[in-house]
């Protein structure tokens, strides 16, 4: 980049920050209550809701990490999109309708209400903190790499800059800010891929030429670099994790009605389809255009900085900036709400005022922005691998108690606690083996299986939860228990 181009990039980032702050300050006036701060006053419609769901899912793991994945592994990983969407259908069928009945704010609210247990609230909140701290570090790492390459900053300064931007708008606006920056993100990503992909494909030589060049480099690039088993394992971990993901549950709480949620999921598919195809073609084209990058995660930054014409490249870089700051914001908000709402307001200071709860949420945003910075500075792995590890951890302790717990009356608090602890420990043990498919199972599969076994087994031998707790989720429930 020339100095003038670099200056333009920083000015554009500055304008983005100003817009985000504007949205945040406007939202700040609306967020006098905890419900306003964390779930946008339950005001989101289907398109803003769809953009919010998409914006939560399409993180830097996608715009930087997945482009890098396609760069080194070819087309096969793209089949994860439709399989991941199965998780959304599970969410639309089995999670969203029931979760909407609870006027909750966070996922641990569900645990506390459904299982009548503050212990379940506390355990889920702490586990969410662990998994999302890892996930947030991936966003900061991606942003750090981009600003290092493009802006010429040191990696440490770049990570701090990204963390600062993310923290600022989450601090100011909470879910209102996240929702409307989500719309901005959807517009920028779609605009970026619609403009950049045709240009790139034309100049690299067309789809056929890309296929031929990749196949000759390595036949696995156009075939199955990731086998069916591996794609299924990764996609189901991400997809089923999404069905119970805390930040997606918060987005569902934030929508106007159950019908809005169903429609929003459809709009998010539309946004994701365009973005997924764009991400795929970015990665594949870059492998042909620049076959020997030092790090696959540099594919998107280099595409924006050195390959595409300046204005198109600027759009690609800004879309990436919006992506990792916005998803970082959603994660940060979830982490902060686990801290402020579930641990502080519900367990430590139940009589706290609304002002004190909002203040605790904002302190949580700042405090939990720091730990992922430390992880990002260590660069644990490729960005998308970190996202996948975090997804595996999440699904291992959340999927069973959320999805089955919402649909099986006999589930008990002891069953839920055993499922969360057993699922997480099993997943971590599997991941620590550092080899795939120990006993024929992926880490997420092992975690979910153990979690399910404990959930059913322990629930059957322990005392059922009260009818009061069940009536919210099972409106036809009168007396007694049963599936």
């Amino acid at each position: 980049m020339t100095q003038a181009q670099l200056t333009t990039f920083y000015v554009a980032v500055g304008i983005y920050i100003a817009i985000v702050c504007g949205i945040g300050l406007r939202a700040y006036r609306k967020t006098k209550s905890e419900e306003g701060f964390l779930v946008a006053g339950r005001s989101l419609g289907p398109i803003v809701g769809g953009a919010t769901l998409m914006a939560n899912q399409v993180s830097a793991g996608a715009t930087i990490g997945m482009v890098g994945f396609h760069y080194f592994s070819g087309i096969s990983y793209a089949w994860s999109w439709p399989i991941v969407w199965v998780g959304w259908v599970v969410c639309a069928l089995f999670v969203a309708p029931k979760v909407r009945r609870l006027k909750g704010v966070t996922l641990p609210d569900y645990f506390a209400t459904r299982f009548d247990s503050n212990a379940a609230r506390a355990v889920s909140a702490v586990f969410i903190l662990i998994a999302y701290t890892v996930m947030l570090s991936a966003q900061y790492q991606a942003g750090g790499l981009l600003f290092t390459l493009v802006g010429g900053l040191s990696y440490t300064k770049a990570v701090l800059l990204v963390a600062g931007i993310t923290t600022m708008y989450t601090f100011l606006g909470g879910m209102y800010s996240n929702a409307y920056v989500g719309v901005l993100k959807a517009a920028m990503l779609i605009g970026c891929y619609v403009i950049a992909v045709p240009f790139l494909i034309k100049h690299v030589g067309g789809i056929d030429t890309i296929g031929n060049a990749l196949h000759s480099l390595d036949p696995r690039l156009t075939g199955n670099w990731f086998g069916v088993r591996q794609i299924l394992a990764i996609s189901l971990a991400i997809g089923l994790g999404l069905a119970a993901a805390p930040y997606e549950i918060s987005a569902i709480y934030a929508m106007q009605s159950r019908k809005t949620v169903r429609q929003a999921i459809g709009y998010s598919f539309l946004f994701q389809a365009i973005i997924g195809i764009g991400i795929l073609l970015f990665g594949l084209s870059m492998r042909v255009a620049v076959p020997h990058l030092p790090d696959p995660d540099l594919a998107t930054p280099m595409l924006g900085m050195s390959i595409l014409p300046f204005w198109i490249g600027l759009l690609v870089l800004l879309a990436a900036v919006v992506t990792f700051t916005r998803t970082g914001g959603a994660i940060l908000l979830t982490v902060a709400s686990a801290m402020s709402h579930d641990l502080y307001a519900k367990l430590i200071a139940p009589n706290a005022s609304e002002t004190a709860k909002v203040a605790a949420g904002r302190i949580g945003v700042v405090v939990f922005s720091v730990i992922p910075v430390a992880l990002a500075l260590r660069q644990l792995s490729l960005v998308n691998w970190i996202v996948i590890y975090a997804a595996k951890i999440l699904v291992s302790f959340l999927f069973v108690p959320v999805v089955i717990g919402l649909n099986w009356k006999r589930a008990t608090r002891a069953g839920a606690l055993a499922a969360m602890i057993g699922g997480l420990v099993t997943c971590l043990v599997w991941l620590a083996q550092r080899r795939p498919y120990v006993l024929g199972l992926d880490a997420a599969e092992a975690g979910v299986l153990v979690s399910a076994a404990l959930f059913f087994g322990v629930s059957m031998i322990t005392k059922p939860v009260s009818n009061t707790s069940l009536e919210i989720f099972f409106p036809n429930h009168k007396t007694g228990v049963g599936g």
């Binding site: 439709p82 100049h203 030589g205 056929d208 030429t209 296929g211 031929n212 459809g266 620049v290 076959p291």
Partner: protein
């Protein structure tokens, strides 16, 4: 991760291209900080651009090589006995490309290895001299004079695409495609696109109560 596993530190990776009268003369210089041993070079064949004989030299001596074509990628394997006692290694690559279209990609012969910079973050430099009125369309290069363009990058591109007036240029032949990949790609696109109306159709039929 996969990709090209072998990587080495380098302190020079410079490519200079001069385009005149339908012919591009390309010179590449690569200097490695350590001694990676005998290397391979490669280029991606492009439609309407024919790469002529490649001259490979190291420290002023011609380097013998074996040429192997795998689809559109052509690889040159250095068959000389590289002295393992050397603490550095350098190559000079020179070749001509016959251009048969005014909108064409000029292939760059690259070391088949990941080069990591010894100091500066951007190692690779590319420069091109074009006839009056011509322009570079990919990658992004800075115009430093009426006919000269330069760029400094993290890694070398596989080609430089240019647009210019090339009277009487005739080129109909394209590099053959991979139909298998094309089928897989469009199947994926169709799957993603079909999901949306099918899901919305289902979602809108669901009762709101319950």
């Amino acid at each position: 991760m996969s990709a090209p596993a072998q990587r080495t530190r380098a302190h020079e990776a410079a490519v200079a291209i001069v385009v005149r009268e339908g012919r591009a003369s390309v010179q590449g210089r690569f200097a490695f900080t350590g001694n990676p041993g005998a290397l391979s070079f490669e280029w991606l064949e492009r439609a309407c651009a024919t790469v002529g004989p490649v001259r490979l030299e190291s420290f002023g001596d011609a380097v013998p090589y074996a040429r192997v074509a795998t689809g559109p990628w052509v690889r040159l394997h250095d068959t000389s006995a590289v002295d393992p006692m050397r603490d550095s290694l350098g190559y000079h690559v020179a070749y001509d490309v016959v251009l048969r279209s005014g909108d064409v990609s000029i292939p760059i012969v690259l070391p088949n290895i990941v080069l990591t910079p010894r100091r500066a973050p951007a190692l690779a430099t590319v420069s091109i001299d074009l006839p009056q009125g011509a322009r570079v369309t990919l990658p992004r290069m800075t115009r430093v004079s009426a006919t000269r363009w330069t760029a400094r990058m993290t890694a070398l591109p596989s080609a430089v695409r240019v647009e210019m007036d090339l009277p009487n240029a005739q080129c109909a032949a394209a590099v053959a495609g991979d139909r298998g990949f094309t089928v897989v790609f469009w199947s994926l696109v169709a799957t993603l696109v079909l999901w949306v109306p099918l899901y919305l159709w289902w979602a809108n039929r669901q009762p709101d109560a319950g």
